[in-house]
């Protein structure tokens, strides 16, 4: 699967890029749908498969995943909001460089903030914080969603896509950490201060870690299994819906 901006969202969501139509009858933005898309149906990590590089590299522990997930979430919300606000002033021909400029400024600000407030985590994540600029999700959402929706919808999309990505990062990080080191939230103090040390769980000292899980192949296998689990759940849900649908149909007609 290659990195491509999902046009799924464009098709399913009301498009207000057409100005004359938007002025006449602004279609109601389906906020529930935006939330569902970001968190589950069009999840950036599990369905769009965007931003795989940080997803693979950083998820060696749940806290690393959480840290980068939060940074990505903040970037997505801010950049989506800014681009949506500026969308009337951005010329279509130069939109990509403008998007990149906006995203880079947001990421730089977030990097400086992390350096100031979460220095331990900043050291652990290293190059992957500035590399958020190159994360395909952010420019993908800017191009596919923020540039053609009202600011509130764009902000919500950023929030939900970011949360969806964060969720995948934390789950994958937790799984890999549990398998490789037998611990969970082992570096929680980097993020939440010394008080959070009690949050760390451990399976005991004699746990022989599955080293493979901490290595890049483990990330690929883990993500593959998560995608499979997501598809399986979708499949089960669809099955249940098709079973209940015939019962529901007459009721709605009546």
């Amino acid at each position: 699967m290659t990195d491509r901006p999902s046009d799924d969202a464009i098709d399913t969501l009301p498009d207000d890029s057409n100005d004359s139509a938007a002025v006449k009858a602004p279609p109601p933005t389906d906020y529930r749908r935006i939330a569902l898309d970001g968190l589950w149906r069009n999840n950036p990590g599990l369905v769009q498969l965007l931003g795989l590089c940080p997803l693979m590299a950083v998820t060696t522990s749940a806290i690393n995943g959480l840290g980068l997930g939060l940074a990505t979430l903040a970037t997505l919300m801010l950049s989506n909001l800014l681009i949506s606000l500026l969308r009337r002033f951005i010329l279509a021909e130069i939109r990509i460089p403008v998007f990149v400029l906006v995203i880079a400024s947001v990421v730089t600000a977030i990097e400086l903030l992390m350096q100031a407030w979460f220095h331990g985590l900043y050291e652990v994540l290293g190059i992957f914080i500035p590399l958020i600029v190159t994360n395909c999700i952010i420019i993908g959402r800017a191009e596919a969603f923020a540039a053609r929706h009202v600011p509130l919808a764009a902000w919500l999309d950023g929030l939900m896509m970011g949360l969806g990505f964060l969720l995948v990062l934390v789950v994958l990080g937790g799984l890999r950490e549990l398998l490789a080191q037998g611990t969970l939230f082992s570096q929680a103090h980097l993020m939440f201060g010394e008080a959070a040390k009690g949050l760390s769980l451990s399976l005991g000292a004699d746990f022989k870690g599955l080293l493979l899980a901490a290595l890049p192949p483990g990330a690929f296998i883990g993500l593959g299994l998560l995608v499979a689990a997501k598809n399986r759940i979708d499949h089960l849900l669809a099955e249940r819906r098709s079973q209940t649908a015939p019962v529901m149909a007459p009721a709605s007609q009546a």
Partner: protein
């Protein structure tokens, strides 16, 4: 509809796999003689895990159990893993490698015939990467026979119980020693390696000859074709011979490479897996030649003493491409590249 080709009775999967198992017997018997209970426990645990996981996956995938459980293919996978893993392997090591082999390597790709990677080698590589300590400690053959000492070693190794400490039983294999010497900048003679000691080095040589014997029987039975073993051993001989001639004191001889580690097992039993190997004659030669080259490269300059698993997996990835570009010319059609 008339039959245009002479009917050739293709042996079914079960017959083929049974023949592979027969061919594995001489080497397995020698291993049993050398490692006693240690290898017996490997075999039993691996075949039980293989069978159980296969049944579980078939059940989950809602496939019929009997035809697949009785075709011996998963037993061959388990058997190959059992003779590749160090004798007296802990039970959890065997279970994890079989999960990778059968569940991830075979069934997640669609079961027998669909898997791009050799399942046994996938399981082996997964545990080799994950548990380097457990995977490099072969027990000393003198300490693990079919006697009371062997039983003690079995309890210590497989279940981690008993009075013995496992480290006192294990030692480096000849390939380990050569690698240590090379990385330490010493010459092979200085490394103090007993080149012809029973059972350390000679045992491994005999084992390779036993696999070779079984493999030749498979060739004679036409279960496998000559392309893969010949190309694999040829390219390994070529590369090791080249470097050996350049500096005999520093690089091990071709004979050493041919008769150590998993060379013969790989050449005749692992690389020849009909599902994951190339299917065209030229493709087979390129595929096996690549494996031989990678075995030499990884053994000599890589981080692991033996390399058959990695070499096979790397070349498995190249198989679709090789098959695509080496299709034999159809009679009456021009060759794709030649005018």
């Amino acid at each position: 509809m008339t039959q245009t080709t002479p009917p050739r009775t293709l042996p079914d999967v079960a017959t083929l796999m049974r023949q592979v198992l027969y061919a594995l017997l001489p080497g397995t018997a020698l291993l049993l003689y050398l490692y006693g209970f240690g290898l017996l426990s490997n075999l039993i645990l691996a075949c039980l895990c293989a069978w159980g996981l296969e049944a579980l996956m078939l059940h989950l995938r809602q496939r019929p159990l009997p035809p697949f459980l009785s075709d011996y293919s998963v037993i061959v996978t388990g058997w190959l893993l059992a003779v590749s893993l160090p004798a007296c392997s802990p039970w959890w090591l065997i279970l994890i490698s079989m999960v990778f082999a059968v569940v991830i390597g075979k069934h997640l790709y669609g079961g027998l015939g669909q898997n791009p990677f050799n399942p046994a080698m996938l399981g082996y590589a997964a545990v080799l990467i994950s548990f380097p300590l457990e995977m490099t400690r072969w027990p000393d053959p003198a300490r693990t026979g079919f006697d009371a000492a062997g039983l003690d070693a079995l309890l210590a190794g497989v279940f981690g119980i008993g009075s013995l400490h496992w480290d006192s039983l294990s030692g480096a294999t000849p390939l380990d020693q050569v690698r240590m010497a090379l990385h330490g900048g010493k010459s092979l003679v200085d490394s103090g390696m007993p080149l012809f000691s029973w059972p350390r080095t000679l045992g491994w040589n005999l084992l390779n000859l036993a696999w070779l014997g079984g493999g030749l029987w498979l060739l004679w039975q036409r279960v496998i074709s000559w392309h893969i073993p010949v190309a694999l051993l040829g390219s390994l001989t070529l590369f090791s011979g080249l470097f050996w001639l350049l500096d005999p004191g520093h690089y091990a001889s071709p004979l050493f490479h041919l008769l150590q580690g998993a060379t013969m097992l790989g050449a005749f039993f692992i690389a020849t897996d009909p599902v994951t190997a190339s299917t065209t004659p030229l493709g087979k030669i390129l595929y096996a030649g690549g494996i031989g080259a990678f075995v030499y490269i990884i053994r000599t300059w890589g981080g692991y003493p033996d390399a058959m698993a990695f070499a096979v997996l790397i070349m498995n990835m190249a198989v679709p491409l090789l098959d695509h570009y080496t299709q034999p010319r159809v009679y009456g059609h021009r060759h794709r590249w030649l005018p």
